[in-house]
Every structure is written in C-alpha cells, then in structure tokens.
C-alpha cells in the first residue's frame, strides 16, 4: 500500500514536471511576447507563435492529468486543496482560459500579434504562472495541511491568509522566472536566424540569473527547513552552472538539457523534501490515499495510457521540432 501510493504520488509529480517543462515554456513564450523589444520585435513574436502553435494544447493536458490523478488517488488531499485554495485556483483558471483562447484567436482570428488578443495572451501568461506557483508554495509551506475550516474565523483568515504569504508569493515569482527562462532557452533552438538566437540567448542568461535569485529568496523566506532536499539542491546548482556555461558557449542543445534538468530538480527537491507528506504537516501520502483497488486500476490505466501517449508525443515533437534537434535522430 505504501509503495503503491508513493508510486502514484511520484507519477503526479512527473506529470507536474512535464507540465512545467513543456506547458510552462508555452507560458514563458507569452512572457517574451509581452517583453518583445528592439528592432526584431515582430520577428520575436512570430517565432514564439510558431514554436507554441502545434504543441501547446498537448502540453496543457499534463496539468489536467495531474489534477485527475490527484482527485482519483488522493481525494482527501484534493478536497482540502480545493477548499483552501479556491481563490487562487479560480483566478488561475481564468488565466488559463484567457491565455489559451487569446492565443488561438490571435493565430486564427487574423488579428496579428499586436492586437488586443496578443495583449490578453501576454498578460494572462504573466499572471497564471504566479498563481500556480502560489498554490504549490502554499502546499509546501504547510499552512493548509494543518487546519481547514474552523468555524467563526473570518473569510480572510480561512481563504486568503493561508496562501497570501511572502513565501508563497516568492514561489509564485520563482515559477514565473522559471517559465520565462525555459522558454528563452528553448527558443534559441527554434530558429536558425543568428540575430534572433542572440536575442533569446541574452534573455535566457538574464532570466537564469533571476531564477537563482528567486530560488534564494524563496529559501530565505521558507517557514520551515523541509522545503528543499539538500542533495537535489546541489544537483540543481550543478545543472544551473552547466546551463550558464552552455549558453555562454552557444551550445544550445546542452543548455536546453541543463535548464530543463535544473527546473525539474527544483520541483523534485521540493517533492522529496516533503515526502512522506502530501499536505504537510498533517496529511501523509498513505493517509490521503484512495482504496487499494482504485490505486491498482489507475496504475494499470497509466501503463496502458503510456503505451499510447509516448509514441504519439514522440511523433508530434518529431514532426514539429525535428529541426530543433529534439528528435532522437
């Protein structure tokens, strides 16, 4: 039972990681759309739209998968999160709706990148990652694992104060900078134009520095010590150094690997540190788990689903990202 529930918690973290590395970079594209600047402003925006277009919907499904697995396998934790984080999750949903629809209106509505649709796309891309990060930060901080719904408390105390903490906001900003960083690094490989590559190389280096600063800020504001696993934090630092070195040397494929590894290690550092708790400090993974019959069937469904999913994803990225060297060949 322990092994089964921990395996599924791991799968949820994998799905969340995939969402951050793939979907997160699509949000990051929106941030660079907002910050497009200089003589190549229009070309930057075109490159971003071109890179996101075919893949963003598939990338978006990872967050739905993580969500579904959470309520199927850990219904108690899901219910607590849904009650305590109602406000930021609803705001995040509005952001997701505005980002996705504004992007597709911009592409297919023929309005061009600078229209009002482009503005909405870009601003929603800025706000949504912060809210996602705030939710993750709140879970890590332990403010909702402790108590839920004490009668007599004010609305603010029950539904705002748990997530509106300096630590959660710092994690929100860390998420935002991570998404921007990933997008900039990936975009260096989406074009052969050396000028555009140089634009995004510079953006990658600058946002990479921001990621480290925000990670440091979040650690400094952490309410307890079990925020990040130390061994994984060391590995994360090595990946960050590799990424900076590769960006400096213009070895973009190495930079992409290292940057993705760096961001994944931030997530896993958090996950490993709070294990065996799902909602620290009270609710453990095993304690929140659904009945064994459910967990077993979900694991089987995941195995069958993976047989369909991974070849399909491989094909998608091979067709559209072959030029960027993401395919194995």
């Amino acid at each position: 039972m322990l092994l089964l529930s921990h395996t599924l918690a791991g799968v949820i973290l994998v799905a969340l990681t995939a969402y951050v590395l793939l979907g997160g970079a699509d949000f990051g594209g929106g941030i660079w759309d907002l910050l497009a600047d200089g003589p190549r402003k229009t070309r930057q925006r075109e490159l971003i739209a071109h890179a996101i277009g075919p893949v963003w919907e598939a990338n978006h499904v990872w967050v739905i998968l993580a969500m579904v697995l959470l309520f199927t396998c850990f219904p108690r934790a899901f219910a607590r999160i849904a009650i305590a984080l109602h406000v930021p999750l609803t705001l995040m949903l509005i952001g997701i709706v505005l980002r996705g629809s504004a992007f597709v209106f911009q592409i297919y509505g023929g309005g061009g990148g600078q229209g009002r649709g482009g503005r909405v796309f870009a601003i929603a891309s800025l706000v949504t990652p912060v809210l996602l990060g705030i939710c993750v930060g709140t879970v890590a901080s332990g403010t909702i694992g402790a108590v839920v719904g004490i009668p007599g408390e004010t609305f603010y105390a029950l539904y705002v104060a748990p997530w509106l903490t300096s630590f959660s906001v710092a994690v929100g900003l860390l998420t935002l900078t991570c998404f921007a960083y990933l997008a900039a690094v990936y975009l260096t490989l989406e074009t052969r134009d050396p000028e555009l590559q140089a634009d995004f190389r510079l953006r990658a280096i600058v946002s990479g520095v921001w990621v480290l600063m925000m990670a440091g800020l979040a650690l400094a504001l952490a309410p307890h010590r079990h925020i990040a696993d130390h061994r994984l934090a060391v590995l994360m630092g090595l990946a960050a150094l590799t990424a900076f070195w590769a960006l400096w040397q213009r070895r973009y494929r190495v930079a992409r690997m290292a940057a993705a590894g760096q961001v994944a290690l931030i997530l896993w550092g958090w996950g490993v540190a709070q294990s065996p708790y799902l909602l620290p400090p009270g609710l453990t993974i095993a304690g929140a788990a659904a009945p064994r019959s459910t967990l077993e069937l979900v694991l089987i469904a995941l195995a069958v689903g993976a047989i369909v999913l991974f070849p399909s994803l491989y094909y998608l990225f091979k067709v559209f990202k072959a030029r960027t060297g993401l395919s194995v060949s």
Binding site: V61, T72, R80, F105, G149, L297
Partner: protein, 421 residues
C-alpha cells in the same frame, strides 16, 4: 442568492458553455476527414478548401473547448469538494482514461492543423481519424462519470463510509450505455445538421456554389443518420430512467400521482391514454411511479425539467423529420441543393441540435436534484464551505459571455468569407 444556488449556477454556466464546444470538437473532425478523403480520391480542389477551412474553425472551437473543459475539471473540486472526496476513487478511472484520450486528441489535432506540408497525405488523414476517434472516446468517458452520479454502483456503504470500492463496476454503471449513446449521437446530429444548415443558408443565396453543395452533402452525411437514430437511443435512455430514476421520469413527464396505464401529456390539455406506460415500459398497463412516491423536499424542479424535456423531444423530432426528408430526396436522386423549402427546413434545424443538447443536460442534471449522487449525497451537502460563491459565479459568467461573443464574431467572419462559387 444562496451559496449552493450560486455554485449550481456556476456549474450550469460552465457545463452549458463547454458542451457546445465539446460536441463540435467530437463531430467536426469526422467532417474534416470525409472532406479530405474526398479530396484525395477525386482531386477536386473544393474538398481540400473545405477541409482546410473547417480545420481553421475547429482550431478555435477546440481550443475554447479544451480550456473550458479544464475549468470544469477543477470546478468539480472547487465547488463540490465533498462530492469529489467521496466519488474520486470511483469515477477517477474514467476521468484518467479520458485524460489519455484527450492527450491523443490534442496531439493529433496539432499534427492535423499544422502538418499539411510536414507529413505525408496518408499520415495526415490518419491523424484526422485519430482525432475523431479519441474525441468520441473522451466524450464517452466523461459521460460515464456523469452516469455514475445517476446510478451509483461499485461500493458498499458501511457506517457511512464507502467500502469495497470497485471502479470497474462503477464504470459499468447501468446509465453508462444509454447516456453515452445518446450524447455521442447528439454530437454528430447537432454538428452535422448545424453545418448543413449554415451552408443551406448560403445556397439559398446562390445555389450553384460547388463549395456550399459539397459542405451541405458532408454535413448531412454525418448529421442525418445520427438524427434519425437519436429517437431510438432516446427511447432506450427513457426506459432506463423509468427503472433506475423514477422520480426523474415523473418530473420529465410531470406525473404527480403514481398510476397504472399512465397517459402521455403531449400539450397542455392534450393526453394520449396509456402512452406513457407504453413508452416507458413497453406495456400499456405498467405502473408509472409519480412524484408522490418521494417526500416533497426530494422533488426536482418539475416545471423546468418537464419544459426542458419537451423542448428536447420536440427539436429532436423535427431534426429526425428533416433528416428523413433529406434521405428520401437523396434516394430519389433529387438535387437537395435546389429545393428551397428543404433548405429552409435545414436552416431552421441548424441551431436545434445545440438547443436540444442543452435541454437534455438540463433534464438529466436538474432531474437528479436534490441529489448530486443519486440517493447518496445531496447537492447541499456537497458544496464547498467557502462563502461568497456568487463572486466566482459572476466572474465565470462574464468571462464566458465575452468569449462566446468573440467566438461568434470570428466564426461569422470566417463563414461570410467562404467562397461563393
């Protein structure tokens, strides 16, 4: 407005908005694939133009469907955390499978929309077929989860807690087959006749347009068979409701007193004797349970359920009639595109499938009230403890009104720009 009512209203708005995009997302890929297949066979450029234009429209509608579906999956927990805590382990399996079906759909839609010049014609057509198949499957999985709320199975309640949880038995819940069949046919009927109706309107202006003729034919090919089969699946669904959810049936037909040989109320004051017993149980003398069989506080909103049911049946009947007309004209090798009266009937039928789908969901959701899980969990007990739910309700409503207006305007612009030759 009470918090429960606000939560129910938000759920209703979210579902009513999403279902339009969901059914178009299920059926449009079938139309696109047929057009592309005809282009590959005949090399008639009209079909390629059609497939590409439909793909552009589908891209917009699919994206809005994807994000509004995400909203629903979160809202299940945000608004009804106690429901999800109880039901998650039972209905999570179809939702997980839906996740993978949706993945496949999104992946191959990306290939279809952006891959015209990047993959071989055969691979492109296959991608379209995979979108159509996985779209239908994801719809079916979600409907199965809803069906479980109507006929919950796969557990034993011991001391108020669900034990012996069996998600497979939950997936095989009795309502699953009739609901999934009815909903899938609805998607094809509404979208197919919707497309046919739009192009019928354009043909009324210019009946020589090869583009609109081709579009009309494909729309009818998908929509008409589904619309003709829909009354049969409706009969299957109604008979299951009569057995498993007698209170819902009583509300649908506004039967207040339990009676044998129940008549069917067609219009106010017009009744067909024995017809309801005959329809619901295939036996003119069968006993139909009335609303009086349960306490007053367990009645759904009878007026609204009855009205919605009648709207659905009337519109569905009209769509089946127009579809039979189309089949009859086609069998006699008549030119459908030059029959003005038939084209006008199609124009009227175009929105009917969407309205009927909304009405059908009103029947199944309102008809189950006051229960979220039938006879297990009341809606008032499922709602989140957070007060002030009117605020997210208004926010989501405003958001969807704005989105709906933009989508409508974009589609209008695209359709009005379609070739008229």
């Amino acid at each position: 407005m009470s918090d429960v009512l606000a939560a129910r209203s938000q759920m209703a708005v979210s579902l009513a908005f999403h279902i339009i995009f969901a059914i178009i997302g299920i059926a449009m890929p079938v139309l696109m694939v047929i057009a592309e297949r005809r282009w590959q066979r005949t090399r008639d450029p009209v079909y390629l133009d059609l497939a590409k234009r439909w793909a552009r429209g589908t891209a917009i509608l699919f994206a809005v469907g994807a994000v509004s579906g995400t909203v629903l999956s979160f809202e299940l927990g945000l608004l009804w955390p106690h429901f999800m805590e109880l039901a998650g382990p039972l209905i999570g399996l179809p939702f997980s499978l839906e996740g993978f079906a949706f993945f496949t759909e999104a992946i191959f839609l990306g290939v279809y929309l952006y891959g015209w010049d990047k993959v071989s014609p055969r691979a492109h057509l296959t991608a379209g077929i995979l979108v159509a198949v996985s779209g239908a499957l994801s719809g079916i999985f979600v409907v199965i989860a809803n069906a479980w709320m109507n006929t919950p199975t796969g557990y034993v309640i011991v001391d108020g807690v669900m034990r012996s949880v069996d998600p497979i038995a939950a997936m095989l819940t009795p309502a699953a087959f009739p609901q999934a069949l009815h909903m899938t046919l609805a998607a094809y009927a509404a979208t197919g006749l919707g497309v046919a109706g739009i192009h019928a309107l354009l043909l009324l202006r210019n009946r020589t347009s090869a583009f609109n003729r081709a579009a009309l034919a494909i729309g009818l090919l998908v929509g008409a068979p589904a619309a003709i089969l829909q009354p049969i699946s409706g009969d299957i669904a109604a008979r299951y409701v009569a057995r498993r959810q007698p209170v819902k049936l009583a509300a649908m037909e506004s039967v207040y007193k339990t009676q044998a040989g129940a008549p069917l109320k067609v219009l106010p004051g017009v009744e067909i004797p024995y017809a309801l017993s005959l329809l619901a149980f295939h036996d003119p003398k069968a006993v139909v349970q009335g609303l009086d069989s349960v306490p007053r506080d367990e009645w759904p909103n009878v007026g609204l359920v009855h009205f919605s049911f009648n709207v659905m049946v009337a519109l569905g009947t009209f769509m089946a009639f127009v579809s039979v007309w189309a089949g009859w004209l086609a069998l006699r090798k008549r030119d459908l595109a030059s029959r003005r009266r038939f084209l006008w009937a199609l124009v009227i039928a175009a929105p009917c499938g969407f309205i009927a789908t909304e009405a059908g969901w009103m029947v199944t959701e309102l008809g189950r009230q006051p229960w979220t899980i039938y006879r297990i969990l009341k809606t008032a007990d499922a709602v989140t403890p957070m007060p002030g739910l009117i605020v997210p309700f208004l926010a989501i409503t405003l958001l969807y009104c704005a989105l709906g207006a933009i989508v409508g305007w974009l589609l209008y612009r695209q359709i009005s720009r379609s070739p008229q030759t």
